[in-house]
């Protein structure tokens, strides 16, 4: 457990001490919550405004999780590789699985911080939800599925893109692009048919729709994502991405040359 704790503490401190990480994961989604809540919702009737603001805040929470997993994790791995830390670790009796677990737990904690802060800003500008406590708890589980999928994608980027800036920028790019084309940034109903299909299988976008469906209502998702088929598909895709990322990281980044 000491190895897991050591990596957890180190990674979390690094996440919290890099301004770019704080900006992209926390400040950027907050900025969009503020813009969405004030600039883009002026013609919306007063009675539904709190729910609309809720429907703006939830995707930004999901986007924060995407950035945390897809950009911060590869950036952190890239930096450790570039400065020779991974070589040093390979010379020590350190288990790659424990290293990974430490990094993932740090990601979870950092993501929680991001979710709380983005959610708090949303709440403070009037965002409200209509879901029950049970819906809220289900949403937390679903957000964990989104973090798992994001971490898997992040591990894959971090494993295959060796350069720290390349890995970080690819992570940001994948997050922004995939959020834009899968209904996280743009309403699902505005997407063309092919992208709507993608939004249903892309686990992060699917979680986004499920949480909005649970906490705000079906009229804000444009469809019912909480079907047995889509739930199974979303969890399966998230697990597949996570296992692929974990396998690539532990086999390739820790491989003896």
């Amino acid at each position: 457990m000491n190895q897991v704790r050591a990596t957890f503490t180190k990674t979390l401190k690094e996440f919290l001490r890099v301004k770019a990480t704080l900006f992209w994961t926390i400040a950027w989604p907050i900025l969009w919550v503020l813009l969405g809540s004030f600039a883009f919702s002026q013609d919306i009737p007063e009675e539904i405004l709190p729910l609309v603001r809720g429907a703006i805040t939830i995707p930004m929470i999901v986007f924060a999780l995407m950035i945390a997993g897809m950009a911060n994790i590869p950036g952190n791995i890239g930096e450790d590789r570039e400065r020779g830390l991974l070589s040093k670790l390979r010379s020590m009796p350190v288990s790659p699985w424990k290293d990974f677990t430490g990094r993932f737990l740090a990601l979870l904690t950092f993501s929680c911080v991001a979710v709380i802060l983005v959610g708090a800003v949303g709440y403070s500008v009037g965002a409200r939800v209509s879901g029950s406590v049970a819906d809220g708890l289900t949403s937390v589980v679903l957000l964990l599925v989104a973090i798992t999928a994001s971490a898997g994608i992040g591990m894959l980027i971090g494993t295959f893109i060796k350069n720290v800036h390349g890995a970080t920028m690819t992570g940001v790019g994948v997050s922004v692009l995939s959020a834009a084309i899968s209904g996280v940034m743009i309403p699902y109903s505005s997407l063309p048919g092919i992208l709507q299909s993608f939004a249903r299988v892309y686990p992060v976008a699917s979680v986004n729709s499920m949480v909005i469906y649970l906490m705000i209502g079906e009229e804000y998702t444009g469809y019912n994502p909480l079907t047995a088929g889509q739930v199974v598909m979303t969890i399966t895709m998230a697990v597949v991405l996570f296992v692929a990322g974990l396998t690539a990281y532990s086999r390739l980044c820790w491989k003896k040359e």
């Binding site: 000491n2 190895q3 704790r5 050591a6 990596t7 503490t9 180190k10 401190k13 690094e14 001490r17 890099v18 570039e82 400065r83 020779g84 830390l85 070589s87 040093k88 670790l89 390979r90 010379s91 020590m92 009796p93 350190v94 003896k256 040359e257």
Partner: protein
Amino acid sequence: MNAIHIKGLTKTYDDTEVLRGVNLDVKKGEFYCLMGPNGSGKTTLVSIVASIRSPTSGVIEIYGKSPEQAKHFIGYVPQENFSSPLLTGRENLMYFARLLGYSRKEAGGIADNLLEKIGLSHDAHKRVSHYSGGMRKRLEVATALFPGVELLILDEPTTGLDPSARRTFFSLLEEIKGKETTILLVTHIGADAELASRVGLIDKGVIIAEGDPEQLKDESGLENAVTVETVVQSAKVVNVLKRFGEPVLETDAGYRIHCTNAEEIIPDMVRSLDNAGVKVTRLEMANPTLEDVFFHLTGKPVGVDE
């Protein structure tokens, strides 16, 4: 039992043979230096000892065990600055101590002791990004000095350090040297190798000479080295110097030749350079260095890439 026993070690990447049958024995408690130019295979060799790379063939034992089994008592310091610039010196040491299984309290105690040993107690709570190159290197060496480490491997530790930081760094090594810890140092700098009890010169994946620094210099037969610093670099200088000793080595400090009668030839040399219109800014006679020995054996300077 030897600390390191290597026999017939080879390492091939694609079609390139980086190590070609290396044989090496390092005794327990010895300070051994592996010196050679970049690309000679020295980093590959130590990374095999440190269990980062696998050999293609050959035998390697660390205290009678395979490198993988010996990880618990190997302290490896790679060439790069691997410490986290975002963490403080103490946090970095705590991280490595906890990776080795120490509890938080034990790790804190070990980190404080090591920080005192390397003279960084006052800077323990500063982020490493605020450390100088020398401070950072000392911190990184400390990550390899945890209790139980019996073999310290240092890969080019003085690269990028200024002369003052290098001296401070070597005073730390002087403290460690002679105790129970075996030190394996890799360098391409002759002055660094002088501190070792035994030096192996490596070239093209083979150890070409081995011995204590004085023995290597004596056996080379070199008596004097003359360094001539000129304002401009030109073939004219080389042509003049060739008359007094060959080959002529170009170094950062100027041109260098080896001869047996330096005191007698220097006046002639100065006259000849003057007649050739070469302006000499500094002329120095010195005992040969390990770099001279390497040059004498291979015909190429140790500071160049292969």
